[in-house]
């Protein structure tokens, strides 16, 4: 039997098919990166539990308030959002050991040793009429302040910025400079 030549497969249409598939995926997919500010909400207090006033020493707390007209108060001072970062940095680092600014407590950090950790807490309060944009702008400044302090610390200790440290080092830095932002209980909800 004479061997017949196998006919060449017609492959001209594969490109069209692939194009169609490509178009389908282009239409149905999104490529936008999801990003945002990550937060952890405090757990809801039990109903039966007495609301114990965990008295935080007054010097350890800074109240950041945004009113319904998106005006910002930080520690009873009216200020612009651009000034907030430096105020928070000063509050958290307390470079001059001011008795009105938060105290530091020596804490043992695994893998690092003793470090005076600031006990400062930022309490963020807002009105129901505050715009979301202003709220995020303030949140962003608070995170930025903490991030800058962490960067300074990382540079002093490891000679690198925080983002370039390895996981263990980041953990140490996070422990040395905690991000204590408390989003206060809304006033009108607790008053039930």
């Amino acid at each position: 039997m004479s061997k017949r030549k196998t006919p060449g497969l017609n492959t001209q249409s594969t490109a069209d098919i692939a194009f169609l598939l490509l178009c389908y995926f282009l239409m149905t997919s999104t490529m936008d990166q999801q990003s945002g500010l990550q937060r952890r909400l405090p757990p809801m207090p039990d109903k039966d539990q007495k609301t114990e006033d965990t008295k935080v020493n007054k010097r350890n707390i800074i109240i950041v308030k945004i009113n319904s007209a998106d005006r910002l108060f930080a520690g009873d001072q009216l200020m612009d959002v651009s000034q907030l970062k430096d105020k928070i940095k000063e509050f958290l680092t307390n470079p001059a050991n001011d008795p009105n600014l938060p105290e530091r407590e020596n804490k043992f950090i695994e893998g690092f040793g003793e470090y005076p950790v600031s006990k400062g807490v930022i309490s963020l309060q807002n009105d129901r009429g505050t715009s979301y944009q202003a709220y995020i702008a303030v949140q962003n400044e608070l995170v930025k302040a903490v991030n800058e302090i962490r960067d300074d610390f990382s540079r002093a200790q490891y000679g690198k910025v925080f983002a370039n440290l390895n996981e263990d080092q980041q953990k140490i830095v996070k422990e040395a400079i905690p991000q204590n932002i408390s989003e206060a209980e809304p006033k009108d909800v607790t008053k039930k």
Binding site: A15, F19, S35, L37, P43, S131, Y132
Partner: protein
């Protein structure tokens, strides 16, 4: 006629690139959401473990029915704050035991929304103990 044998390969490469880098559009957004901008944003790590709550005023085609006030959209429909509990429960149910701890609720709110509705949502999330949240925001160019 010149041969065009490689063009299908190239197109296939394109196709694979898009298949790998993209995720399917989850659902139709019925509220207008223009995310606020922030410089210190972090990436959402596990997209499969996150649920989305959209908050904003309804888009033009729904305004006749739902008005222009800020509304909450869960999955595909307009809901109220009270429905969040069921929504979170359903989302939790769909996850494996180990992943439930890592669930993140991403709040996608329009930048012009008032904080009142967001505070309500936050309180409801606390009641359902869905404590890991994320305020969705676009990365702004650092000044």
């Amino acid at each position: 006629m010149p041969e065009l044998g490689t063009s299908s390969d190239i197109v296939f490469m394109f196709l694979f690139f898009f298949m790998v880098t993209s995720q399917l559009r989850s659902n139709e957004v019925k509220v207008k959401v223009k995310l606020p901008e922030a410089t210190e944003v972090v990436k959402l790590e596990r997209k499969d473990l996150s649920s989305y709550i959209n908050i904003g005023s309804p888009t033009a085609q729904y305004q006749a029915q739902f008005g222009t006030d800020a509304r909450i959209q869960l999955n595909d429909s307009f809901k109220t704050v009270d429905d969040i509990r069921d929504f979170i429960a359903a989302e939790r149910e769909a996850m494996s035991e180990a992943d439930r701890q890592l669930m993140t609720v991403s709040i996608k709110a329009d930048q012009d929304v008032r904080m009142g509705i967001i505070t309500d949502v936050k309180q409801e999330l606390r009641r359902c103990s869905a404590l890991k949240i994320m305020y969705a925001a676009n990365k702004a160019a650092a000044k």
